[in-house]
Structures are given as structure tokens and as C-alpha cells.
Amino acid sequence: MGMAAESQFHVLAVDDSLCDRKLIERLLQKSSCQVTTVESGSKALEFLGLRQGLQSNDPNELSTSPHIHQEVEVNLIITDYCMPGMTGYDLLKKVKESSAFKNIPVVIMSSENVPARISRCLEEGAEEFFLKPVRLADLNKLKPHMMKTKLKNQKLEEIEEASKDETALVEPEIKDSTKIEILPLQQDLQLVQQEEQTLCTNNKRKSMEEGISTDRALTRFDGITTTV
């Protein structure tokens, strides 16, 4: 649609069945996502590791090519539960235990409706649990995550514009339920993601309270400098 500046929501899909990989890929494409499919948990970690390794730590890059940086980002992982070797649950644990990837939302898919399995996954930090076969309607539950990424990208552009004009803090136009006052610098992106994740509890089926107040966002807001 000509929006070259806007990078898409990038999903990493993991499934040992070729048939199911094809299906989830098409489902995600139809939902306007960029998709990468892999056949195992270990391949998924490899992909994440490789991609993370390509990220630049140079803050100056933000103003010159932030969109290239974003393109290698994984915004969500969707994985089958039953896989040989590393199960979807094992992958979920590994992702949540890693400092680099724990903020990436993980969705589990399974052909079996086992309540104990579902609660275990949600307790381990899975965002959603989809019963297979997954349908377009199910993926609508991922829209909030996609919107947040879109908003984030828009704000990044705003910051770029602001830095060119050498004005002070950019007042974001968009007020949404996540209460992000300003998009922080590159290194704070991870923190913002975590914040967004905990604030958006609508889609979660678990009843656990997150216990994180929204005051944190304001505190962080104060700590951000104006120089980009």
C-alpha cells in the first residue's frame, strides 16, 4: 500500500507438521503479518539468536535506519505444543527465561484440549492458547499486539521528525489504553514491550493479577532525555 516506512508485525511460527506450517503461514499472511516458519523449537531459538545478533547497538542507527532494525525483530512467537525433541512448552520456557527474548509474546497451539496443559502454558507466560485447527477468527485475538507495534512504529517516526526539527519532547497524538506517554529510545524498547504486555490483560485467560501499576510508565517518562 506504499507505506514503506511502516514495518509489519513479524511472527515466528513453529510446527513440525509441514501441512500445518503451510496453514499457519497463510493464516498469518491473511492477517497482514510477516511470517517466518520453522520446524522445531531449536530452529526457532537459532532464528531468534541469529536475528538478535544482527541488531545494532549503535544509537545513531535509530535516526538513519530504524526500520531495517525493526524488520529483523520478532513480534510474536506462535508454536505447536506437541513436537518431537523440544515441545512448545519447552520453547515457551526457554523464551521466558531468556533476558533477550522474554518480552516476546508466545502463543501455544494444540490439537488436544487438555485443561491442565492449557493452565500450565498460561502460567508459564503464554499469551494465548489456541486449539487446532487455528482459524482466522482466532488470529483476531492477536490484533491488540499488532496494533501496539503499529503505534510504536508511528511514534518512532514522530520522534524522527521531532529530532529533525530539534523540538523538545514529542507529545504523542494517540492515547490508548496502554498509556504510553512517549516512545523511548531504542534501548528502552524492551522495557516498553514488557509494560505493554502486562497492561493488556484482555486476552489472557488466566486469572492471575499482574500487579504492575501504570505509574511506572510516568516514572519512566520523566527519566527520558530529549536528545535522540
Partner: protein
């Protein structure tokens, strides 16, 4: 004329239980960007059938030393992919086969596996006929009718 045939044939496949609404979901995913999606997915499914049935047959051949774990995991996979494409009858037979496997009912497994084999081949033929009808419509310059089940 072909459109009427196509419509009737499609409806009969659903009514006779060969296909379920997951197949309808597959059609929703097909568009100008992915015009052969349904054909591609079902083709992967049939490849799965061939491979997994062959694995199971080989396992069951080892009379007296059947690896029921292997049979179990193969039928689990086959059940999964049949569910993903809407192959209702195949899926149903997989459920039965899984039960025979779980109870290590050798005769039951052999019989059931034969039925799965016959069923997937039958479905393959029918879907091929359906795709051929689609082709005829398209080649005659027409559009594939939307069939409401």
C-alpha cells in the same frame, strides 16, 4: 453446466462426510495472492498420508515386535493434518486407529490402517475431480461459484 456440477459435487462431499467446515476455512484463505492454496495444502496432506501410513504399515509388519509408540505418534500426526484440512472421514478413522493402537489391538490396527489407506485415496480422487471441475469453469472464462453448505 459445469458450475452446477461443481456446486452439487461440493455439497455432496460435505453431506457424505468426506469434508467438514475446516475445508471451508481453507477456501477462505485462497485469494489472488495465493490462488492455489487449497490444492497445495491438500497435496501436502496426501503426502503426509502416504508417508505416515507407510511408516505404520512397516511397524505393524514386525509381527511380535510391533513398535506401538511409533504407530501412536504417526497416527497422532495424521489425525492432526487431516483435522487441519477438513478431511473428516480420514480423521475419524485415525481416532479409531489410535484407540486400537492404545489397546495394542493388532488385528484392529491392521484393519483400521487399511481403511485409512483406502479412505485417503478415495478423498484424493474426489478432490482431484473437484479441482478439475474448477479448472473447466476457469478455462471457460467463468468464476468459481461460492458454495454455501
Amino acid at each position: 453446466m459445469e458450475k452446477r456440477q461443481f456446486r452439487d459435487y461440493t455439497i455432496s462431499l460435505y453431506h457424505q462426510g468426506f469434508l467438514d467446515d475446516q475445508f471451508t476455512e481453507l477456501k477462505k484463505l485462497q485469494d489472488e495472492c495465493s490462488p492455489d492454496f487449497v490444492a497445495e495444502v491438500v497435496s501436502l496432506f496426501f503426502e503426509d498420508c502416504e508417508k505416515l501410513i507407510s511408516n505404520m504399515a512397516r511397524a505393524l509388519d514386525q509381527t511380535g515386535n510391533v513398535d506401538y509408540k511409533l504407530v501412536g505418534s504417526s497416527v497422532h500426526q495424521l489425525k492432526g493434518s487431516s483435522s487441519s484440512v477438513g478431511a473428516k472421514r480420514v480423521k475419524g478413522l485415525c481416532v479409531t486407529l489410535k484407540e486400537c493402537c492404545d489397546s495394542q489391538n493388532y488385528e484392529g490396527c491392521v484393519r483400521c490402517l487399511q481403511q485409512v489407506d483406502i479412505e485417503y485415496k478415495s478423498l484424493k480422487g474426489k478432490l482431484q475431480d473437484l479441482f478439475n471441475l474448477e479448472q473447466q469453469i476457469v478455462q471457460a472464462g467463468g468464476r468459481i461459484p461460492q458454495v454455501d453448505i
